[in-house]
Amino acid sequence: MTGTITGADGRTRFQTTVARVTGHQLFWPVVALVVLLLACGIVSPGFLDVTVRDGHLFGQPVDILRQSATPLLLAIGMCLVIATGGIDLSVGAVMAISLAVSLTYIAESGTGSNLSTALTGLFLGLVVALAIGVFNGFLVTVLGIQPFIATLILMIAGRGIAMLVTKGQITTVTSPPFKSIGSGFVLGIPTPVIIAGGVFVLVALLVRRTALGMLLESIGINREASRLAGVKSRNITWFVYILCGLLAGLAGIVYGAPTMAADSNNIGLMKELDAIMVVVLGGTKLDGGKFSLAGTIVGALILTTLERAVVIFHLPTQVTPLFKALVLIVVCVAGSERLRGKLKIRRTSRPVVAAEVAA
């Protein structure tokens, strides 16, 4: 008996180390990201190089970071909404509305090159996004409409609203300060990266330094028990929808600023699904509860790297969705607890038999 137990212990210690690493929810997403980057590096030598030009960072990795800003901003809000057991389908449309409001204000003011005009435009766009978040949260928490349906309303109506704001035109403006939100540099780092990084740090502090994160998870896991424990689930859930709306607005402005064209039909199209995919890639389950904000960074990087890889591999860009789906399948299957359970049975069943033979 003792002999087999020692044997089992030695095996377990090694296995627990391996299991702790491979069992971490971010293990497979990180593997996918590294594999993608390496594949790109092999196909296109120099892909991973970063150079400094005019004091600014340049190179493919920098571009990937820059383009990850939009999905990351969306996914941070989406992640918190999903933690409460909800979903926000309107974020793509909110991007279009915010950008339309900002650019329309700047266009009508006629003083696009003024910094104050650009800032006011930014502010107005964010206020509208915030108001939309308030509206979504109201539908979900006060009226008790299912989040999927409640946010579907603005997903459908949102682009129409954006069209109303721009009077059916693609509003274009010339505003260097506004443009720099999307294409400028701060200390050599692209502005969107600074914005998304800053937002991430702020939200992470907000969620983990206060008790908001724990209460979000408790609401997502067992809403009624949380209510009976005194958790203000309505206020907290509402707050999260507002934050999600606000971040979607910011994402729209960051995304649309470089072109300075409010193309209401195309800005943020299907981005809500990208955001959900990023959250899932980051190891957060759609049924709410436990969530991983750090995972959204990995998820956003995978998404952007994928889009870049399609170009690097000289594939027609039309197949990008297929690639997204493939990576999603691989990561989800690899991270599947059920599959891991099955593999574990197979692995442990053999030594048990051996031990019995030995005994």
């Binding site: 330094r209 206060t210 008790a211 908001l212 724990m214 209460l215 998870e217 408790s218 896991i221 067992n222 009624e224 028990a225 949380s226 209510r227 009976l228 424990a229 005194g230 958790v231 203000k232 907290i236 509860g289 436990k290 359970g341 099955k342 049975i345 442990t348 069943s349 048990v352």
Partner: protein, 520 residues
Amino acid sequence: MSPTSTTDTAPAAAKPVVEMTGITIEFPGVKALDDVALTLRPGEVHALMGENGAGKSTLIKALTGVYTIDSGTITVSGAEQRFDGPADAQAAGVSTVYQEVNLCANLSVAENVMLGHEVRLGPFVNWPATRRAARAHLARFGLDIDPVSMLASHSIAIQQLVAIARAMVVDAKVLILDEPTSSLDKAEVAQLFDVVRQLRADGVAILFVSHFLEQVYDISDRMTILRNGRLVGEYLTSDLPRLELVSKMVGRASEDLADIEAVARRAAAPSEGAREPVLQALALGKDGSVEPFDLDLFEGEIVGVAGLLGSGRTEVARLLYGADRPDQGTITVRGKHVKGASPLGSLQRGVALASEDRKKEGIIGDLTVRENIALAMQAERGAWRRVPAKELDATVAKYIDALGIHPANPDALIKNLSGGNQQKVLLARWLATAPKLLLLDEPTRGIDVGAKAEIQRLVAQLASEGMSVVFISSELEEVLRLSHRVVVMRDRHKVGEIHNGPDVTTTTVLETIAASGSAS
């Protein structure tokens, strides 16, 4: 190593149908089962005994294929089995009827009985034949009910029998009954036991789990006792006196147990002369829930609430706490009138409610013990002011120690704990808010002798320290043992208030319930 079963009765000579040996199951942070054995013989009722957390549920789930065992062997009808899911276990002839009736209430009786075994006609279901088959199966258990009727239209007892009929559709060799009697009255239990005896006579091996010792002695031939995930032993029921059974389950000498009860009783000595009530309810009521009632609750006093299931016991507690909004009457807490009762408001006023439904209204399964204890404390302070880590750690350590929460690991997920320990964690959650008034709704349900005595003693101790406690339980003995005053409920009315004393017995309370029945 293997425990003693002294004498073998004649029918027990049959070859075992199930043999489980060396069963070990580990969850993260918890060793749920450690080298446990279980043998089931055809034509025998075998009771699985143990306290909460002893590993009964886990062992059953290993046998039914819900959990995969980490080591050990399971042999059914002589063939070694490795169950990959409940379907495998069923295919091997092991059927289960769970504690909560696992049927579809909104389907017909016939559909429930025959689900997955419908009589087929090509790709279609032959409904008339299916219903006939269902009727035949039901008749086997003396159930003469319309197979087309909706399951929900029948009593829980009938549903329980339908569940057994369903389990036996596959001609199971082994039938597991997990707490089948917890929501049945006496006559219904007798009806159920008739069916069990009939199955035993038919040669089915029955594994019976129940907290009711009387029923275990009434129906079982043999028993296996577990404690803390380990095997204590297998015994013939006729050879094992009750007191010895209890001490084996609890792991203490039986004199100690009697001592605990005595302590609980002594500590519960009434402390009269309280001045202002902690909470005063005047004409408090809610349509369709409870008729208006008055109630004063004083410091240091335990008020029991007695009444049958559905008499409005739970609803009283929910109204006092603000879990449900009263639509009439007033609540005054320590002289202050309460407007818009809500759980959060109640917690801030020092009122806490431990709900009867641990799973749905209590635990946050995927969070840790620490987080579950912190929840109410944290909710009281709001989302932005986090309870400092030091303070929280101290609180959690204090209650894990004081309540004897096992495992004593604050980072274990609460869903991996046993029912009794989950209940202790929930008590810790409410106690951590330092309530002046604690409403306990069935705090000892599904908990056995040892843990029950612990919780009773805790309640008595809290009251002696000045807390006001409302104690709701369907066990009258328990209510009478602890309470200074007993509120009697019947048909959603408060029908009386009895001051507890030496001359008050369960009969007194039952008479109050019955008398009011004839009066109204």
